[in-house]
Assembly symmetry: C2
Homo-oligomer: 430 residues x 2
Amino acid sequence: MPLAANDPTRKTWLKTPKNTDFPIQNIPFGVFLTRDDVITIGTRIGNYAIDLGALHQLGYFEGIPLTDDIFLQDTLNDFIADGRKTWRLVRNRISELFEENNPALRENKKDRATVIFDLSEVEMQLPVQIGDYTDFYSSIEHATNVGTMFRGKENALMPNWLHLPVAYHGRSSSIIPSGIPIHRPQSQKLPNGATEPIFGPSRQVDFELEMAFITTAANNLGESITTKDAEENIFGLVLFNDWSARDIQKWEYVPLGPFLSKNFASSISPWIVTLDALEPFRTDSPKPQKELLPYLQYEGKKSFDIKLEVALQPDGKKETVIAKSNFKYMYWNMSQQLAHHTVNGCPVNAGDMMGSGTLSGPTPDSYGSMLELSWKGERPVRLDEGGDRKFIRDHDTVIIRGHCKTKEYPRIGFGEVSTKLLPVFQPKTK
Amino acid sequence: MPLAANDPTRKTWLKTPKNTDFPIQNIPFGVFLTRDDVITIGTRIGNYAIDLGALHQLGYFEGIPLTDDIFLQDTLNDFIADGRKTWRLVRNRISELFEENNPALRENKKDRATVIFDLSEVEMQLPVQIGDYTDFYSSIEHATNVGTMFRGKENALMPNWLHLPVAYHGRSSSIIPSGIPIHRPQSQKLPNGATEPIFGPSRQVDFELEMAFITTAANNLGESITTKDAEENIFGLVLFNDWSARDIQKWEYVPLGPFLSKNFASSISPWIVTLDALEPFRTDSPKPQKELLPYLQYEGKKSFDIKLEVALQPDGKKETVIAKSNFKYMYWNMSQQLAHHTVNGCPVNAGDMMGSGTLSGPTPDSYGSMLELSWKGERPVRLDEGGDRKFIRDHDTVIIRGHCKTKEYPRIGFGEVSTKLLPVFQPKTK
């Protein structure tokens, strides 16, 4: 199927800001609450949120096989389960409808008023009900940095790391959309030099710069997905902040991995950018340093050149960009991740989410966590308006942004995931 | 609210086998497909499956605040979300309806034909849509056995083990009900003495004897649950076989925990036995060996005396009971597990599942996995009809059973979770 929606010369009749993350070539999918308190599935062009439920009711998706209520839902799961062919038909149709020379919607004032909202009028929701969430550990720079800090340079990478995309299961229930504040978590931690743990607030709350992909229903129990077929099963990508509490993590994670140090909150950007929209930005993954077992081998460019940045904004002050990285640094690409995840027959469903792991780059200004940027707190990170940070303080906001850009093609972006850290939760006395 | 349904002298007008796991004092909840291809929520008395959707439509739950379609669903999630008060009202009402002196349903032949099925006529389903699944590691005997095998007797228990209920996140998508066969998983493993991994079928497929509890919607993001309130949020328990592939696990699990070695399949018994039904079998947990931080302290008896057994049945042969254990051996009880899980503000939803971890007892015949029973394969387990096992072979069926019994009170049981291991999955050639 031709990706007509990817025509770089196409313009829209909607007014969009220059250099928007959301030109007519993007057409991401999300879920929002309208000013009329209706939950609907929508897309975004420039600073407009477009109600796909209403568009569908008005007949603008005629000819595309869709159930009547496919967009009148509070999650994208059913639409995602419809499969890639349907996503493409819908994305192409939206692109046509908003193309500058198409009068169908442009000249229908009443319909326009029904389906187009200013972004400030809507409230973004979690775009999918995430069944299972897996987090990979696929940046060699991040794994090496963390390994060096905790085990020394010689033992930085575990023996399995170069042979398989290491991953662990995360918690879905605490995944929240951008804009929802979180509280500093409490749990057990072992003070330096102590033999008995104490209970209290984490003093090492950290972000992790990640991206995550959302899958469709990919396989049944027992079946596997090849690296060749993997992308057919990926709907799109979001920005992902995998909040972490390092002191809690250090005490709890042996031998079964991180638990309370991660599951207090994880935040994602609300618009899922489809793999189709990212097509013009394909690039190579890093060259494998070990020969790969056949099921992890692949052909072609399976990564994407997505520029990422992290900003830290103290309460009431201006933000400082503290890290710049790129999705393409990821050593294990998404096709390898999905092939590995299913090689044992583990089923993947529509709405599952797979995190990249912290996306650190090769230089110290491209590290994707405070742990690495401040090197365990030894080198505090300077802020533009004064002061510094070893880890995240109460009332700080962490903002992750990401976009793609080449000379020939319009900028395709993800918007942002922005999350404020509040002090420890104080229960109301009954 | 009095637990009228727990009256030990109560008898039912249904014919039930002597020593059934499901006397009128049990009243578990499950989901089944009827002979008419309808999915409904039901309960079980003796060898009868009772259609609660039909009972409700016929008006037998009058006076209890329930939505019309609460039982006409393919999962128990909404019913569980209604909360403990509603579960108790429904369980008491079912108990009354089937009490031997109550003619209301007993004498209504037409209604009886509509709501009562022979167990052989229905097909049990997964009882809940499991949002998140967490597996604890709460048997001190199991943790000590595994630790001794891999790190020696002196370092068997990790320093954190006696201070907190160690746990990790598992995969929900591969949780299946009893009766569904599974395939031997494949993945990477490192042969003894090798430095490079190979790909192939696991040669160390193992069961893990566990139980799991199902929660209701317990807390919002940021909030915690105390040990005092924890049981209010537990709907009930099932038997749980946490299938594991030891060779895959050994290679992959450092540093982030088990992944493909666990997520190929996990099986549960289909009837959820409520905490209320288990009330007569309360017992003490093992005495803590370290002083507990305040949030893990508790009062009263928070464990249950549930006798467990594992049987292994080679294809076409009789089964051998290979292990006998008890839920009460669990060092960290469910209230402590839930308090720990939420102390950092992690939200728990209706339909979440929390596994106990392998429930090994103090003696070698009470170990809850082949890894322990055969001590890494050094002491093969003898089977009654000849032969032995280090791990599970193709076409073996593993059956876990559990029940409670005291002199004064009828047997309350869980039925079984029975799962056959098939050879490696062979994809159909297209």
